[in-house]
Symmetry: C2
Subunit: 356 residues, 2 copies
C-alpha cells in the first residue's frame, strides 16, 4: 500500500502563533508546554488563533492475538469480545473519560475472535479482517493480503471520521495479548533488546513475565530479518488491529488532521505509520507516557515528548483522552487571553514596548 | 493565631474507593494516578463514589513586595496593579484556563501598592492589609499585627468561599517580586541553600539572577533565627499575600475542603500552613511541578507528588486549574465505570471471580 507524501503543518502560522504568545499578558514562555501545544494546534489548523476542537473522535481498534494462548496476559482472550460490548454500552474507562472530555467513541472489530454478529452495528463490523491474528512466536500474524486489507481499513476509518467532521483523532486499542506484538514491533524498529521492551501489560505475575519474554524473544527472531519492510513486519509480528491503527495514523496526517497518541499499542502503530508515511509524526502529539518500557522507546524514537506522565497502562485511548482538556486549554489561552496592549499592562523593564 | 486540629479525610471511605476501583472493568491499577486522585477525592468528600466538583473556586492573592526595588523581577511593580484590572476583565491566563475548566475566579488585594479605590468591588478590597510588604533583605515584611491580620484574612476568605458553596479551592498568586520571599520561606523551612532555591521567576536575565540571589541570601540570614515560629517567619521574610494564602490553605483543611496547590508561591504558603495546622496537607493535591527549583523542594518536604509537569512558571493558580479536568475525570471514572459483574466481563485468569 502506497501513501501519498505527507505535507507538514503550516510553518507560517506556527511563527504567527509563537509571536502572538509573546504579546499575551504573561511572562514569555511561562505557560511552558501549554504554549507549545497551542502553537502546534494553530499550525495543524492553519489558523492563528486556533479553534477549540468541536468534533474530537476516538476510534478503538479491537482484535485478538494468538500469542495470548502462551499465557502472556493476566486475562483470558474472551475479555476482548466482552469488552466490545462494554464499549458499546458505555461502561469502559475510555467511555467515561471521553464523556468528560467531550469526545465521541467508536469501536471497530478488526480481528476479535468471534463470528460476525448481524446484530452488531456496521460501523463496528464492516472492517473486520479475520478472527484473531496468528501466534507470532511460531507463525505469521497475517497474510500479505490481510496486511493490505487492515491498512486499507485504517485508511478508510480515518477518511470516514474526517468526512463526518472529526477535527481531532485518537486511536485506542483493545485486545488481550496485544502488548506482546506491540513490544516486538517496537523492539524491531528501535533496535531494543527483548528484555528492554517487556512490560507487565494487564498485570502479569513473574511466571507470566517469563513466558512473555520468551514469546517476545521468539517473535523478534522472526521479525528482525524483515525490519526494513513495514508490510512484511506487520505480517510477521503485527496483527490486524495494529496494522489498521498504523493506516489510520498515517491517513490522519495525510488528511491534515491532528492526532493525540495513546500508549504502547498506539506507539507501535505510530512507528509503523511513520515508516509508511514519513513525516506523519508532525501531526501527532504524545498524550502520555505509559509505564510500559517499550512505549518510552517508541516515543524517543519518534522524538515526541508526552504531555502526561500519570503511570497509566490501560490503552483504549484513555491516556490520549486524558490529555485532551489540556489541548483545549492551550487553544483557548492563545485565542482568548488579553495582550499587553489591550489590557494596558507594562512589559518587561529591560525591554520597553517601543523596542518590542 | 491558633488553628483548631485538622481532622484527616475519611479513611473508611478511602478503603471503599480502593475496593471499588478493583471491581471496575480494567486491570487493577491500570489508570495509575487517576485512580489515586479519585480515591483521594472520595475520602475528602466522605462519599464513594465521589461527586464531580460543581463549585470549584480560584482565589488569586495579590500583593506587592518591597524587594522588587532591588531589581529581582523582569517586570516593574506597577504590573501587579495592572494585572488586578486584567483579572477583573477576564483577560489573564487563569481567567481563560478557569473558564475552560468550569472554575470561578476571585482576586483579592492583600497588599498591592495602590491606594484603596472605592470603585473596586468589596470582594477584592475588603481584606487589604497594607500597600506593599517590606523589602525583606533589610527590613521586616510585616508587623506581627499585620501577620495576624493577613492570616485572619486568609481564614475569612476560605470561610466566605466555603459558605458560598465552594467544594474545591485553589489559591493563586499575583505580585511582582513574590518569588523572592517565596524562595526565602522555602529555603528557611526546608534547610536549602540560597542558590538551590533561586529561579528565573518572570524571566530575569543573568544580572537579575545575581541580584535575586543576593537578596535571597540577605533575607535568609534574617529569617533563619526565627524559623521555628511561623508568625515570626512571615513577619521577617513573608508578605501579606503569602500570609493570607497560608491562612486560606490551613482553613480549607479545617473546613474539610480539598485544595489543588499551584506553584512556587502556593508552595511556600503551603509549607507555612502545614506548620500552623499540622496535617493540613492531607487535604491538598499538588496540581503541577513548576520549573522554579524551590517549588520542587517545597513539594518534596510536603511529600506531595505533582499531577502535571508542564514546565509552567506563571502562578495565578494556572497550574492548579490545568490539573482540575484530570481530577474531574478521576471522579467520573470511579462514579460511572461498569464493574466486571455489571458488564459480564471475566476477571484475571489466575484469580477466578469466586476467589475475589
Amino acid at each position: 500500500m502506497e501513501f501519498p507524501p505527507v505535507t507538514p503543518p503550516d510553518q507560517q502560522v506556527h511563527r504567527e502563533a509563537v509571536f502572538r504568545h509573546g504579546q499575551l499578558t504573561k511572562p514569555s514562555g511561562s505557560l511552558g508546554r501549554l504554549e507549545e501545544l497551542g502553537v502546534w494546534v494553530a499550525a495543524c489548523q492553519g489558523s492563528c488563533p486556533p479553534r477549540p476542537f468541536v468534533r474530537p473522535q476516538v476510534v478503538v481498534f479491537a482484535g485478538d492475538h494468538g500469542i495470548a494462548a502462551r499465557g502472556v496476559s493476566a486475562y483470558p482472550s474472551e475479555v476482548t469480545r466482552q469488552m466490545l460490548g462494554n464499549f458499546l454500552s458505555g461502561g469502559a474507562a475510555v467511555n467515561v473519560l471521553a464523556a468528560a472530555a467531550g469526545v465521541a467513541v467508536r469501536v471497530v472489530d478488526l480481528a476479535v475472535d468471534v463470528a460476525a454478529d448481524p446484530e452488531m452495528p456496521p460501523l463496528v463490523t464492516r472492517h473486520k479482517v479475520r478472527r484473531g491474528s496468528g501466534a507470532i512466536d511460531r507463525e505469521d500474524a497475517l497474510t500479505d493480503d490481510e496486511v493490505g486489507q487492515a491498512l486499507a481499513a485504517g485508511v478508510a476509518i480515518a477518511d470516514e471520521e474526517v468526512d463526518r467532521g472529526a477535527d481531532l483523532l485518537i486511536a485506542g486499542d483493545m485486545g488481550i495479548g496485544n502488548t506482546t506484538p506491540a513490544a516486538v514491533l517496537i523492539a524491531a524498529l528501535t533496535g531494543a533488546e527483548p528484555v528492554a521492551v517487556v512490560g507487565r501489560g494487564t498485570g502479569i505475575d513473574d511466571a507470566g513475565w517469563m513466558r512473555k519474554t520468551a514469546a517476545i524473544r521468539d517473535a523478534l527472531r522472526r521479525a528482525r530479518p524483515v525490519v526494513g519492510d513495514p508490510v512484511a513486519l506487520l505480517r510477521t509480528a503485527g496483527g490486524a488491529d495494529l496494522a489498521a491503527m498504523a493506516g489510520f495514523l498515517a491517513q490522519a496526517a495525510i488528511r491534515r488532521t491532528p492526532v493525540i497518541l495513546d500508549g504502547l499499542a498506539t506507539g507501535a502503530a505510530a512507528l509503523l505509520a511513520e515508516e509508511l508515511a514519513p513525516g506523519a509524526r508532525a501531526w501527532w502529539v504524545a498524550g502520555h507516557r505509559s509505564v510500559e518500557p517499550a512505549h518510552i522507546q517508541a516515543l524517543e524514537h519518534l522524538e515526541l515528548t508526552p504531555v502526561l506522565e500519570l503511570e497509566m497502562r490501560l490503552g483504549e485511548g484513555s491516556g490520549a483522552v486524558a490529555a485532551l482538556p489540556l489541548l483545549q486549554m492551550a487553544i483557548r489561552v492563545l485565542a482568548e487571553m488579553a495582550t499587553f496592549a489591550d489590557a494596558g499592562v507594562s512589559g518587561p523593564v529591560d525591554e520597553p514596548a517601543s523596542r518590542r
